[in-house]
Amino acid sequence: MLMIERVLGSRLEPAFHERIHRLEHSGGVDVVTVSTVDMPRRRLRLVSARGEDLAIALPRDQKLFDGAVLLLDEDRAIVVRAEVERWLSFQPRSIAEGVELGYHAGNLHWRIRFAGERLLVALEGPIEGYYARIDALPGVASIPRIVVTGEMAA
């Protein structure tokens, strides 16, 4: 089990970019995929794509992020890849629909964000669970919705 006690920086930083690029050519870059649920944790165990068992224990002022460099030496690097986050994007057709949707989203303690006139709900579990709640709410069940990821959620 390899202990990781800090994030060294971002793979995009000039100090790391060139070295990691070189290691990529020699096959020295290992990736650890972190789910959206696990991303805020400072202590967790994960297994990298190449089977390295990682024990991550970050200081409380650090967090994981996409591209975080966890290890970098002469022969290898370990870099975080964030799992793509999925959102349920609602497009209310009236102020009344928007207000009702916002009210229930708050009551259900869903993590949300806004994009123009859309309200996006982070899918932190099986989508069936979200549909089960929505379909039980008259006034919300009929609001147009689609699942979006990445830049579409911006």
């Binding site: 944790r41 202590r43 303690h109």
Partner: protein, 215 residues
């Protein structure tokens, strides 16, 4: 066995792990902590506790009087509002309490945050804790897992307490545990009796593995 990257010093970690214990009123959160204390001491874990109450410091005083732990290692947070507000929406009071314990006890490995009793929608912010448990109890009704509250679904470990009461309250315990496991998929469920200590060693082992990286 733990190894560190080249050039990094060995020794204890820079900051303590933080875990949460949530659950409804009366489900046995404080009783679980009272049983966890000797289990963690037996595993040589250096730890402290932060309790949360609505408008009193009742749980902290109970632990301080227990004789199980140095009273200085127990801090209290008064939520003053719904308990989930200070473990999820704005956990800064608890974060400050954890920071204070880490300053006062250098080398601390683990801080346990006990939420005030709340409802099935209660969850912890991962800004506050690294891993958290949700405690329900048999006497609260065997339909709790079927209700699929966020606390039951999202916690890292679901604990079903007071298993000894099942025959007295007409609860089918194997059925309740089966439904809890079905609701949570592959995530763990542990049955305990915090009064007798049954099952609490399993909980202590899971804490040690999850956030202290013990074998």
């Amino acid at each position: 066995m733990l190894e560190r990257p080249q050039g990094q010093k060995s020794g204890r970690l820079a900051s303590a792990a933080r875990i949460g214990i949530g659950g409804p009123v009366g489900s046995g959160k404080t009783a679980l902590i009272e049983r966890l204390i000797p289990e963690l001491q037996a595993r040589d874990v250096d730890f402290a506790v932060v309790t949360n109450d609505l408008v009193t410091r009742e749980d902290a005083e109970r632990l301080r009087r227990s004789g199980l732990i140095d009273p200085e290692r127990v801090s209290a947070v008064e939520a003053g509002a719904c308990p989930h507000t200070v473990i999820r929406e704005d956990p800064t009071l608890n974060m400050a309490a954890g920071d204070d314990l880490e300053v006062r006890f250098p080398g601390l490995e683990l801080v346990i945050f006990e939420s005030g009793g709340d409802n099935l929608a209660s969850t912890f912010s991962l800004d506050l804790v690294d891993w958290w448990m949700f405690v329900i109890d048999v006497a609260g009704g065997d339909d709790i897992p079927r209700k699929k509250g966020p606390g039951v679904l999202k916690c890292d470990l679901l604990i079903v307490n007071k298993v000894d009461l099942a025959p007295h309250v007409g609860v089918d315990l194997p059925g309740m545990l089966e439904e809890a496991q079905r609701a949570r998929g592959e995530r763990p469920v542990v049955a305990i009796n915090a009064r007798s200590g049954e099952g609490v060693d399993t909980v202590a082992d899971m804490i040690c593995r999850a956030v202290l990286f013990r074998p």
